[in-house]
Amino acid sequence: MRTDLFDGEKPVVRFDQVGVRYGAGPEVLRDIAFSLEPGSFHFLTGESGAGKSTLMRLIHLSLRPTRGLVHLFGRDTATLPRDRVPDLRRRIGVVYQDFRLLDHLTAVDNVALPLRVAGARGPDVRNHVSELLRWVGLGERLAAKPPTLSGGEQQRVAIARAVINRPDLLLADEPTGNVDDNIGVRLIHLFEELNRMGTTVVIATHNFGLVDRFRYPRLDLEDGALKLIRTPSPPC
């Protein structure tokens, strides 16, 4: 269900000369300037500690820049009232590197969480969630709780939770880190399917095999600076 998605044709994300430092330390990100157009698909690459997670947190409004401007869905996040932040976050699906599942909830309840938070209730929610979990290969683990799931299974639950409400923007931090290549490819296909329906996708990854295989543009972080690397031709 997509509503008033892109506020015209404004970029989904736009950074203007953004810098971030933690405390009195050096800038971990500096002069970051880029924009993500609606419906685009990007890999975010860089060595460990290059600032990929920090960049993701800035986009997800869980971190404020030390300087510069971050625009999200055409809105300046610096002037965004606190009570409007949740509405923007509901338009973003995030797959965290550490999954961040709730251990006391079943796989179904974890995946249904964004829908519940948005006020959705009833059997349709259950069916929708169960269907998605079957699609990611967890049809037999619907009632399992995260501590009883393997790392790969937890990752797929986290991915299902991020995409369950068909977000306008999907941020995935190492989403294929704990799964084998076949599942990894399958998950990227899931993201591509969402992308075809209009979701803007950013995947932070170390897996250059996948990056080479899918040939989407790369946002590469090096020494706190960002550069865009375009590939000759995206896959069909």
Binding site: H60, S62, R82, D83, P86, D87, R89, R90, V94, R100, L102, D103, H104, L105, T106, V108, D109, A112, L113, P114, R116, V117, A118, V125, R126, V129, S130, L142, A143, R161
Partner: protein
């Protein structure tokens, strides 16, 4: 059903939440006992007050030192019958006067009454002590008697006579009862305040313990109200459980005290303890406690979350 109606926040891991029902039970028990005491006192004062208001007692000294006591009593009765606003005036029979002084004198005056006064009741000796003549006066309904003026006229008709206005005593009793009622209200208010502080503490503890889950809910797009609702429901449920136990214990205590009072013949065995309206106060206590807990949790969560981010 796979999706159960459960909280996103794992409150069962929360030690403060486990204690809350017990604390609320104790608070509500104390409130219930305080309210019961205040209601009982109010009822007793109403009874005394209605028994004493509109009554006067005139005491005319008798015995060998007052040979004209009989004439004085007749004069006072005649005066009272002519006084507007007096509904009834009657001289108490000797037996009744003896009954009144029996707690102090025992049965000593029973056998020798009338020896020194020609057998006329009321002014007889009791164990050698002269008994006064007592006149019980009841004012007419709605009449406003100037008791000081009446006492002066009685004193002129019967020198040495004393007029006791019971309304004065009733007024003091009512004043005392109101003070105790006020103290009971303050006690209930303080218990309510203590309950609020307890809920605030338990809620803040819960917010600290579940900080990670709350952070995740925020990242998923939960408004503060969504998180506050979960704490509200938890506080409501825990307080309701505690309050029901507290009220049950308070009502049990009331019945126990009433039973003991009945055994001590302080009140008739078949007397109603409270009116239906007064029982309704007890019935409302759990609901009030739960509502207070709900609102306290809501305000605490909303204020704390606003400060956290």
């Amino acid at each position: 059903m796979l999706i159960r109606r459960q909280t996103d926040i794992p409150f069962e891991q929360d030690p403060a939440g486990r204690l809350l029902p017990w604390i609320v039970a104790i608070m509500i028990y104390l409130s219930g006992v305080a309210i019961a005491g205040a209601i009982a006192l109010n009822g007793a004062v109403s009874t005394w007050s209605s028994g004493l208001s509109g009554t006067l007692t005139i005491q005319i000294p008798a015995g060998t030192a007052f040979p004209k006591a009989q004439q004085h009593a007749d004069a006072v009765l005649a005066l009272l019958r002519k006084t507007p606003g007096i509904g009834e005036a009657r001289r108490l029979p000797r037996a009744e006067v003896l009954r009144l002084v029996r707690p102090w004198l025992g049965d000593e005056g029973k056998g020798d009454g009338g020896k020194g006064n020609g057998g006329k009741g009321g002014d007889a000796d009791a164990g050698g002590l002269p008994l006064p003549i007592l006149i019980d006066v009841r004012t007419a309904a709605g009449a406003d008697i100037d008791s000081a003026a009446l006492a002066a006229r009685v004193a002129r008709a019967a020198p040495g006579a004393v007029t006791e206005n019971h309304a004065r005593w009733a007024g003091r009793l009512i004043g005392l009862a109101r003070s105790i009622w006020l103290v009971a209200l303050i006690v209930v208010a303080l218990i309510g305040l203590a309950t609020v502080i307890t809920v605030v503490f338990a809620t803040r503890t819960g917010l600290r313990i579940h900080r990670r889950v709350i952070g995740l809910l925020h990242l998923i797009g939960a408004h503060d109200r969504y998180i506050a609702r979960q704490f509200e429901r938890q506080a409501l449920w825990l307080s309701l459980q505690g309050a029901v136990v507290g009220v049950a214990l308070a009502v049990g205590t009331v019945f126990g005290v009433v039973h003991l009072a009945g055994e001590a013949e302080l009140q008739p065995a078949d007397a109603a303890i409270f009116t239906p309206a007064q029982w309704a106060i007890f019935a409302c206590l759990p609901g009030v406690a739960a509502l207070v807990a709900l609102l306290t949790a809501r305000i605490t969560v909303l204020r704390t979350l606003r400060r956290m981010t």
